[in-house]
């Protein structure tokens, strides 16, 4: 009997290794460790091969294993059973392009990767010249998935058009936003997909060296991805002669060191060069003068992981998904106080309500949703009344939100939004690189002003206008998005939840 147990960090963190060991102790059981489906509320999720497909059980604890084996033997139903996993509504309601392989096989199995469509995008790219690859990406409408949503093809065009002896591909895997884990799942669960995307990017712009900057908080991702690079190199996908094409591409892995700011692209470049992660002024754009001063494509993991699909199936195929100027799919990540949290890859255009209630099942605590933060620690807080905005970069922004990297953190009605606003300033103070004054000093003053505001007293109005003024200075005067966007969660908390600061309650939003 063949059973599958995820080896994803989020499965291991709730005991998947022990469950796999317990299952493996039965002589008749053959355990395969796979990537995760991204259904984290039922991890550890054990799947069993049947003639009809894989049947899932979860969350399985070590002590459940003997009874589970017994019911598999007798064919009796088990209380942890979820039936055929492919037909589970949570998965059936998604359109997985980037995460098509999630949960299927051993992430490091090169044979399984090739058998499920792997390397087809690379082989297609090897038939094209650089400009044709870039135009295919332009056609797809793919926009940077790291948060800024800049069109990937346009960025590639700039690097292609900049003459230089040495160009680089730099993959930003410093996924520091709370509520996000899709990059981690790609690196741990489908590393060859990202490698393939990076090679194609190299072919497109004429770069024969790639760097990936993986945050130190992701030890599993670093281990798996590093091993994938070694295996892909010995199999001839990476190295001096990619698939006997005469083209070279070498991939170097670097580990971050716990600085959130290194997710900002220019700070990441400094860190890759071995320096303090201090933000660089732009221009010059990294596409013109980036890593070690050379033209550099910097893309997020999800952007590069979308590339093989685009080259394999065509830019037009990818662009058919989505709405408005937001084309393709986005792997949303549902987290925080949520009943069914995990990875939901869908075309742009669904609403937060659909994600949080239809997929997520509401809060984990069963209490009402009070606030939702989309797009990481720099994203505004939205009240429950604003959940019907479609998730499209432009539509969501016009409603005061930010999609960012697609992380959605849900809070129930016990949250104190003044505490969250203070935390936003505090986080900025801890993580500021210190290069510009508004961010370095303004964040510290922000914590103090919020403390005085919440404490009350006769000068409350003055504190409030001071805080607003400080937010304006941060937004207008900071060098990068760290200081520039820290005001967003603070202002939105003030706007929608003034009562938490001891201020008069906000009028309800119009329906």
């Amino acid at each position: 009997m063949r059973v599958y147990v995820p080896v994803d960090a989020a499965a291991r963190a709730v005991g998947a290794d022990d469950v796999a060991t317990a299952l493996g102790s039965f002589a008749a059981v053959d355990v395969v460790r796979t990537s995760s489906r991204g259904m984290f509320w039922i991890e550890p999720l054990v799947e069993v091969d049947t003639p009809a497909g894989r049947v899932a059980y979860g969350p399985v604890a070590t002590e459940d294993v003997p009874a589970l084996i017994e019911s598999l033997r007798t064919g009796a139903a088990h209380p942890l059973g979820h039936g055929l996993i492919q037909t589970h509504p949570w998965l059936a309601g998604q359109r997985r392009l980037t995460f098509a392989r999630a949960g299927l096989h051993d992430p490091l199995d090169l044979g399984a990767y090739a058998a499920t469509g792997g390397w087809r995008g690379l082989k297609a790219a090897l038939q094209l010249d650089g400009a044709a690859i870039v135009e295919e990406v332009v056609r797809s409408g793919l926009r940077g998935r790291g948060g800024a949503a800049f069109p990937a093809g346009i960025k590639w065009r700039t690097v292609l058009a900049t003459p230089a002896d040495q160009k680089y591909i730099a993959c930003n895997a410093d996924e520091g936003d709370s509520g996000t884990f899709a990059d981690r799942m790609v690196m741990e669960g489908d590393p060859y997909l990202l490698i393939e995307g990076m090679i194609i990017a190299g072919l497109a712009v004429g770069a024969d060296q790639g760097f990936i900057y993986i945050r130190s908080e992701y030890p599993d991702a670093e281990r798996v991805f590093g091993e994938a690079v070694r295996r892909a190199t010995s199999a001839g996908f990476l190295g001096p002669n990619v698939l006997d094409s005469g083209r070279a591409f070498a991939l170097h892995l670097r580990r971050g060191a716990g600085a959130y700011i290194c997710g900002e692209e220019t700070a990441m470049l400094e860190s890759l060069e071995g320096k303090r992660g201090m933000v660089r002024p732009k221009p010059p754009l990294p596409a013109v003068a980036g890593l070690f001063g050379q033209p550099t494509v910097i893309n997020n993991v999800l952007t590069l992981a979308a590339i093989p699909t685009i080259l394999d199936q065509g830019g037009v195929f990818y662009a058919e998904f989505g709405m408005g100027r937001s084309r393709g799919t986005l792997p949303f990540q549902l987290a925080g106080n949520i009943k069914h949290g995990g990875l939901i890859e869908v075309p742009f255009g669904l609403t937060l309500r659909q994600l949080i209630y239809d997929f997520g099942g509401g809060t984990a605590t069963g209490r009402p949703v009070r606030a939702v933060q989309v797009g990481g620690p720099l994203g505004p807080y939205l009240p429950a009344a604003a959940l019907d905005t479609p998730l499209d970069y432009e539509a969501f922004a016009s409603a005061g939100g930010m999609i960012g990297h697609g992380g959605i953190v849900v809070f129930d009605d016990t949250v104190d939004m003044a505490v969250m606003a203070r935390y936003a300033m505090e986080f900025c103070a801890i993580e500021s690189c210190g290069k510009c004054t508004p961010c370095r000093i303004g964040s510290v003053r922000g914590v103090e002003v919020i403390d005085r505001l919440v404490a009350g007293g006769p000068r409350r109005d003055a504190q409030l206008s001071l805080l607003r003024d400080l937010c304006d200075t941060l937004e207008q005067g900071s060098l990068c998005a760290m200081g520039g966007m820290t005001p967003y969660p603070v202002r939105s908390a003030l706007q929608h939840f003034p009562e938490d600061f001891g201020l008069p309650k906000a009028p309800p939003l119009p329906a």
Binding site: A9, A10, R12, A13, V14, F40, W41, E43, E175, G176, D177, S178, G179, T180, F181, R184, S216, E217, Y218, P219, D220, H252, R254, R255, A257, G258, A259, Y260, S271, L272, E273, G274, K275, R276, G277, F292, Q333, L334, A335, G336, N337, I338, G341, G342, L343, A364, Q373, P377, G407, V409, V410, F411, D412, V415, M420, Y423, F427, I430, E431, C433
Partner: protein, 176 residues
Amino acid sequence: MRDVQPIWTNEASSGALHRVRCAGESIVSLSALENTAVRDAIAACAHLAGACLPLLHHVHDALGYVPPAAVPAIALALNLSQADVHGVISFYHDFRSAPPQRHVVRLCRAEACQAMGGEALSLQLKRVAPPDVTVEPVYCLGLCASAPAAMIDGKLVARLSPARLDKVLTGFAGQR
């Protein structure tokens, strides 16, 4: 560290200063273990592009901290000033300058974990963590759909609760 060959460029005068401080007796303040860790890291990483971070990680992985007395040798090997190396060490949250306690609990303090009671766990640690436990904040371990999360002695733990944390701390006591 007498066997470390400096890679001089054109900064002969400042180089001489390093040479005196590195080849001289200040390096003796490194223990044998520290000395080996630094020497190994230099051998493994000094040739890399942007070598400083990988080298410091190498030392940190071996020792759990980067001894301040290792800065001159690292600077010498990378042809950087000591201020540069110190600047890198002090910029990044990951690099400790002194050994941690026997156990290290890195509790996630970011939003998704706060939404699931991370603050209560932080207070619990402040209240009851024994002196042989180093408690550090970490901002996101990527386990946000299974919050709250922590890294305990290098192992990731999700769906942490006050009771489970208590069990972990009791387990530490059993190892004492």
